[in-house]
Symmetry: C2
Subunit: 250 residues, 2 copies
């Protein structure tokens, strides 16, 4: 994207996918060019025969590097950081790697599942409810993960149950609390080293900021300031402008 | 456990915890001694003030290495493999590491959450239901994760909903299918390299084997054979004998 040298990188991604955004931001910070294949989740393109051949999990992103296929955004970003080490996005040594890995695991286990329910309720659900229910049911029968299929079915049907929304909001608050604690030793999540911990968290904070239940500037000022710092990084700012333009034409 | 040299390793763990078992097996394969602190989950020792100071997530295992604190069993095992590289439990190079990391992520995202609901229904639930409900509620109010607290509450109350059990069983079948596909290129999950992918999966297969809904020898013969190979490894066999003895006295 930023350079023209051939990196051998091919990314299958969706503009609205937080996990795709993690990878786009890592590639941007590295200044790596990549060939993109965009999927529309709203049109169930991730459940097409063609894409299920590429990823039987039916999930974006997928990165190909010289033909080697990588699934899972946290795995992809760790791989990219290892194969393209300049600039490094992991603090040096086993302890540095473990500190980033603990953040990535927390994001994958707590923050990422938690954002999906209120975000689906606000964004994807109203769209799915305009579609023919039989068509939606047929598409979702193709979803390999039983738990992800259930979330889509809830969003398309009577909506995500309120008890689940409340539980998700609690887990999001816990994410913001953990960030606040870490940022006392900031300016980044792992001290003064800008890392994949920041990149992997940023798309979720961006999504949290769109939810009416959160006012980051007032209630989570350290996280708000961190996100402003993140967005102000030249590579991220440039990638974000491109993202906004492409999302509008998607 | 197997040697007497001082490794600087201190493990907080529970004998009945699948994620603790992942770490004990990795340490056994490395032949590393460790000092252990055992917690009883049935007695809510992971939610004590003392342990929440060690891990604010209220989860085992936690590994201390010369005072450096590591949470999350997959992170712990990757760290141990890096710091104590002999014998290696990750195939060489970035691609080898990515292959193991993709398995670990699948286990953490799909297999581990899926085993907990049928396993709680069969094991922990009946125990929790014998306790004073007010005491259980007070303990569970100390659980930091809203989603984990809910699973314990369901198990202690009217039981895990049948729809959730069915969804979990579907995700467990998906785990066994993925293993079967990989083992066609076996004998291990990443080809002929015995790795953390095998170690991180094994405790879940052991738990699946205890569920009445699964007959591995008949319906999943490749997984059954793999698990027999796993159990026959000298370090694993020895660790398993110790585990059985200690679980009986716990």
């Amino acid at each position: 994207m930023n350079t023209t040298r051939d990196t051998g990188l091919v990314l299958y991604h969706a503009w609205a996918s937080t996990c795709s955004q993690k990878v786009r931001f890592a590639l941007a910070e590295k200044g790596l060019s990549w060939q993109g294949h965009v999927l529309s989740l709203r049109h169930f393109e991730h459940l097409s025969d063609a894409f299920l051949t590429i990823n039987p999990d039916g999930l974006v992103p997928v990165l190909l590097h010289d033909g080697f296929k990588l699934r899972e955004s946290s795995v992809i970003n760790a791989y990219v950081d290892e194969v393209f080490p300049d600039p490094p996005l992991t603090p040096p040594g086993p302890r540095g790697r473990a500190q980033v890995a603990m953040w990535s695991q927390f994001i994958d286990d707590v923050t990422s599942p938690a954002i999906k329910k209120p975000s689906f309720a606000a964004n994807l659900g109203p769209h799915l409810q305009t579609l023919d229910p039989a068509f939606v049911a047929r598409m979702l029968s193709r979803m390999p993960s039983a738990s992800i299929a259930e979330r889509w079915r809830d969003a398309a049907g009577d909506g995500i149950p309120q008890a689940q929304i409340a539980q998700s909001l609690a887990d999001l608050r816990r994410s913001l609390e953990r960030m606040t604690t870490a940022l006392a030793d900031g300016p980044w999540l792992v001290g003064d080293f800008f890392s994949l911990a920041d990149i992997n968290m940023a798309p979720f904070v961006a999504r949290i900021a769109t939810l009416p239940q959160f006012d980051l500037a007032t209630d989570w000022p350290q996280v708000h300031d961190w996100y402003q710092r993140f967005r102000s990084r030249p590579a991220i700012a440039q990638a974000s402008i491109v993202e906004q333009q492409l999302q509008q034409t998607a």
